[in-house]
């Protein structure tokens, strides 16, 4: 008898679970937009910032009346930072949730695995972070990219070298061995040698997360370059700068190639050592785009932590998505794609217009800036027209401060 009772409870339990699953299928009806981000795993930190920004933006859009009176329902899927899981996520979004378009896309490997599906299924995908050049070099008509590809990050810095730092003759390039570091540094080296006429005397990669960069830096020191250009993420960036200080390594210019050198954590963990460090960047709260600073403040007010360029990319992408949905003739993937192709708007991340140039198609083209840490604040120093402070050049020597 007891056994029978247990059996019945067990079956009832299973039925109950099934019931909740079925219930979960029949949820609110809005315009479904899929967002693909790494919310767990190693990349979770940035995925989380992007998710918060998407949430913030979609809430604002919905509060302001949504898209022609309809709510946008973002369905945010976790890729865990793995391509095969990313693919599971987009297959689910398209096949089960029947989204009209997809956004997000963080690391290049996951982005690639997912956009291929989007193209094949003819669902538009707006990439806002995946930065491998190849993503928009396939001529795929359903794929759009908001952020510039990795090879274009040092663009803004070049004009500074040509106009201000003209006495720089030799360059040492240090980079992390990641997609970002390897392609960014390669491109910069080419640019130095071909168009800037600089002598690259050293180019060396390192595995992110090293404890001690001194062997590398002492080598740099012995070669006495005028410019040290580093493509590094936050913590490696901070270690490089701190240990340069320890070694009293004094080039004319320390420049970070985007990424790590502009983030608040960099300042926090270098302290005074971070002063006067330059960095190329796509976005900081001080960029001259409408709403950039406001977005930053809103984010801090809401979540209590600062945001950075990944967040701005996501926030801008949400508005581009809303804009395209508004203009779309119908809420079908095809119509949304056509509307996206005609996007021409201003966002917190800059102007967005998908154009074709070189090998790239449907790629947004953005200027890059040069920023410098001055008095603990990140100031835009180049191009001159948009600068918020005057640059300090050359770099004051560590032991003379």
């Amino acid at each position: 008898m007891m056994r029978k009772l247990r059996k019945i409870t067990f079956i009832l339990f299973l039925v109950g679970i099934l019931g909740v699953f079925l219930a979960s299928g029949a949820l609110a009806e809005g315009i479904k937009v899929g967002i693909i981000l790494p919310l767990t795993g190693k990349l979770a930190k940035f995925g989380e910032i992007e998710k918060k920004s998407f949430d913030l933006a979609f809430e604002e859009i919905n509060a302001a009346g949504g898209v022609n009176g309809k709510r946008i329902d973002p369905i945010i899927e976790d890729t865990t930072g793995k391509p095969d899981v990313g693919r599971s996520a987009i297959e689910k979004l398209i096949a089960r949730d029947k989204v009209v378009m997809v956004g997000g896309g963080y690391s290049s490997s996951v982005t690639w695995a997912t956009i291929a599906v989007a193209q094949q299924r003819k669902v538009p995908f707006l990439v806002n972070t995946g930065s491998a050049d190849k993503i928009t070099e396939q001529g795929w008509e359903y794929i759009f990219r908001l952020n510039p590809p990795v090879s274009e990050y040092p663009k803004g810095f070049a004009s500074f070298l040509q106009n201000v730092a003209t006495d720089v003759k030799t360059v040492a390039i240090l980079h992390e061995n990641t997609l970002f570091g390897q392609s960014g540094s390669k491109k910069f080296k080419k640019q130095c040698e071909k168009s800037l006429g600089l002598d690259v005397i050293m180019k060396e990669g390192y595995e992110a997360g090293a404890v001690d960069f001194k062997p590398l830096l002492v080598k740099v020191k012995s070669k006495k370059p005028d410019l040290v250009y580093m493509v590094s993420y936050i913590m490696d960036a901070a270690m490089l700068i701190r240990q340069s200080k320890e070694l009293n390594l004094n080039p004319k210019l320390f420049v970070g190639g985007a990424a790590g050198f502009t983030l608040p954590e960099f300042q926090k963990s270098t302290g005074a050592a971070g002063e006067y460090i330059f960095s190329a960047t796509l976005w900081t709260p001080s960029v001259p785009y409408p709403g950039a600073k406001r977005y930053f403040d809103k984010f801090v007010a809401r979540y209590g932590t600062p945001t950075e360029y990944h967040g701005a990319e996501a926030y801008a992408a949400a508005y581009v998505i809303a804009d395209a949905l508004k203009r779309a003739k119908s809420l079908t993937p095809r119509a949304v794609r056509d509307a996206l192709a005609e996007t021409d708007m201003m966002t917190v991340f800059g102007p967005v217009k998908f154009i074709s140039y070189g090998k790239k198609t449907q790629q947004n083209r953005l200027p890059t800036f040069l920023v410098q840490w001055l008095n603990g604040k990140l100031e835009t120093v180049w191009p001159k027209e948009v600068s918020t402070a005057k640059y300090v050049y050359p770099f004051p020597k560590w032991n003379e401060r």
Binding site: R3, R6, K7, T9, F10, I17, V20, F21, A23, S24, G25, L27, A28, L39, T40, G41, A44, E77, D78, T80, K82, P83, D84, V85, R87, S88, A89, E91, K92, I94, A95, R96, S108, S109, W112, A113, A116, V117, Q120, R121, A132, K134, Q138, N177, T178, L179, F180, G181, Q182, S183, G205, E207
Partner: protein, 336 residues
């Protein structure tokens, strides 16, 4: 009944894409089948031969890169590289095994771990060949999932049947003898070094093939993805031990469970928590759902700890133990 179970399973698997037409589930099944192949390989060297490998990703990645390089450098269809990927993985396994099989037990395991990392570094640093972290990108051959599904199925079936055949032969007896007692095996005329090499190369071949399949199917690889210690090597171990160490169908069960569990956590128990939150409107459950979804690696970790403590021989290996617990299995227990 038990004898026909594999055939029944095979028929279901053959019919699967015809019955379940949505890409999402087909994709998950392709992953399951790929893991069956990797798990079968791991099971040969670790489960049957007793030489635990922490470095399956070295073979997986080699297979994947072989396919990728065939396509990008030689313009040969990466499908040809399926076999070549297996062979290339063997080319890595051969010198490695030759040198490192003088190490026993945990030391061999550490050496495989080191191999895993060395291969990843090589793929990262040798930019001219591999493209470094930029990775390799190819355009997939098929739009539909179905061809990939059947290729993966063929590979998985071949792997399982192949392993079964090997294990029923002299090699199989030798592998298990080596696992049980290497000295005794050696004294019975078994060239333990040779047969460990054979076992490792079978594992490498299967894993390399799975890597090539991955390249073909996913279209993009970089060193972090295919030489990942966590996502490939450890996952292979999990598939092996959860399914059942040293059993033919263990990897099949293990692959299915691991992919399902992974997806289960990722989607918050397939939307269970979201559904519950929506039904009750409770903020607490929404928060809980968020945590549950973030806990998938934690879930894996706990799964490892629990499986090793409670089901050290995996689900297939300790099947009798499990049926004893379930209330539904009560009928049989009362007989005892």
């Amino acid at each position: 009944m038990k004898r026909f179970a594999p055939f029944l399973l095979l028929v279901i698997l053959i019919l699967f894409p015809l019955l379940v037409r949505d890409d999402y589930h087909q994709h998950l099944m392709i992953l399951v089948l790929m893991w069956v192949v990797i798990g079968a390989g791991w099971n040969v060297i670790a489960g049957y031969t007793g030489q635990v490998s922490f470095g399956d990703a070295a073979f997986f990645g080699t297979g994947a890169y072989t396919a990728g390089l065939f396509a990008t450098k030689l313009s040969i269809s990466p499908w040809w590289a399926m076999a070549a990927g297996g062979v290339a993985a063997m080319a890595v396994a051969f010198p490695f095994g030759w040198i490192c099989f003088r190490l026993r037990g945990a030391y061999f395991a550490l050496a495989t771990l080191a191999l895993n990392e060395v291969m990843r570094h090589i793929a990262t640093i040798w930019e001219d060949l591999t493209g470094g972290m930029v990775g390799i990108l190819i355009i997939q051959t098929f739009v539909s999932k179905v061809p990939y599904y059947y290729i993966a199925l063929a590979l998985a079936v071949a792997a399982v049947i192949g392993v079964q055949a090997v294990m029923g032969s002299k090699w199989g007896y030798y592998f298990v003898s080596i696992r049980e007692d290497q000295d005794a095996a050696e004294s019975l005329g078994i060239d333990t070094h040779l047969y460990k090499m054979i076992s490792l190369n079978i594992a490498a071949f299967l894993t390399g093939m799975a890597g090539s399949l991955y390249m073909n199917y996913m279209g993009f690889i970089d060193p972090e993805v295919v030489f990942s210690l966590h996502d490939i090597s450890i996952m292979a171990i999990l598939v092996g031990i959860v399914g059942g160490v040293g059993t033919v169908y263990g990897p099949v069960v293990g692959a299915f469970i691991m992919v399902a569990v992974h997806e289960f956590f990722r989607t918050g128990f397939f939307g269970f928590f979201k559904g519950l939150a929506a039904l009750t409107g409770s903020q607490a459950i929404t928060t809980l759902a968020k945590y549950v979804m973030q806990a998938h690696v934690l879930g894996f970790g706990i799964l490892v700890v629990v499986v090793i403590l409670v089901l050290p021989n995996g689900i297939v290996g300790d099947w009798k133990k499990i049926t004893g617990w379930l209330p539904l299995g009560g009928g049989r227990r009362s007989a005892a």
